[in-house]
Amino acid sequence: MSELAHLYGRYKGLALAVGAGLILDGGADLAAETLRLAADAGRAREREPGAAASACHQAALDLYRLAVATPTAAGHAHLIEQVRASHKALRSHLWDDIADQYAPCGAHPHHHRQEEHPHV
């Protein structure tokens, strides 16, 4: 697995948790973990610069900012928009690498086409 895919796995778990925390109790303490991810993504970008690495770093930074923000603060809704936007930008770089993250109902990519049975 590429380093980017590994970082995205961490991002995905943390982003789900940050969002769930905001929904459930107004926020969860994920500051340390999201900061670590942002730092690791920054180092990965330094090692292998590129658009995907930059998108990963930006998404991780935005997620950290959301994790430490006060939900009732002005601009919080805008911050969520930013996280959604940077996540989508990151995701667009990952489609070919780890596309099965979004497999419809978990279906594997059908690289190996099988004999067709048109009806169940």
Partner: protein, 291 residues
Amino acid sequence: MSDYSIWIVEYARVEEYPVSWILYGARNEGNTVLPYCYAVLQSEEHLVVVDSGFNMADYGEVLAKNFGVSHWQPPTVVLGRLGFDPEDVDTVILTHNHFDHAGGVDLFPNAHVFIQQREISHYMWAKGLPDRLQFLTSATDPDLVLSLVQRMKDGRLTLTDGEAELRPGIVAHPAFETHTDGSQYITVENEHDGRWLFAGDNMYVYENVTGRGDGRYVPIGYGMGSLEKGLLLTEEMFTSVDERVERMVPFHALEMWDKFPSQRFDDTLHIAELSLRPGDHSRLTLAASAG
């Protein structure tokens, strides 16, 4: 009691989907066509969708390329065929948080959204797991949860905790540790024709309930929870509709178009009309003229 007209609308399709992901144990049976659908319910007071589809604006190309998802149409088109505007939908009920069921929430901008609290809290638990357990969050997109955060900030998100009446005659029932950790199935009690049940992905096709010639339940091929709980849930759902399988509505079954009056459109997508409340008229006539 309330009365709802009920339609199942197809909004996309997977042309080649492994049968083994639909029916547990169906190895070496190749692929099948898998429709993607959600339900539209209309009463005098409410316009409701059960599940929301997904938003092709972000997913489209990669899904089409990697998984053969095709023929996607937005709610403006799909609901438009019934004469409805997605902006008039006041209620979105999510059976679970997989992208093909919950990924279209943004497309119903004025709706109040209902989902089981457990489906959300599960992500708090999962975040501490090592990377090798990533499969547990497959088919889930962080963006969906963030869209629900926005909906919550607007005061239009309700987390249900077990069984709850969401709208008159519409009840959410917990289906925990089955297809997903916090799944729910939905029943609608119609005064004029009784109970309808929307199983989410705890029933992909009718064969999951009717069996493969032997009348024995076949578990779904893809579930994160317990096989045993999934089977017992099937029993609970089946008996709750008095063993009338036609009252159980799956969202991935080709048979829908034969079991109920339906319309096939030029883009090959379908709409099935399951129930019409007294005084309502068939939208399939409208659909036919809409082409």
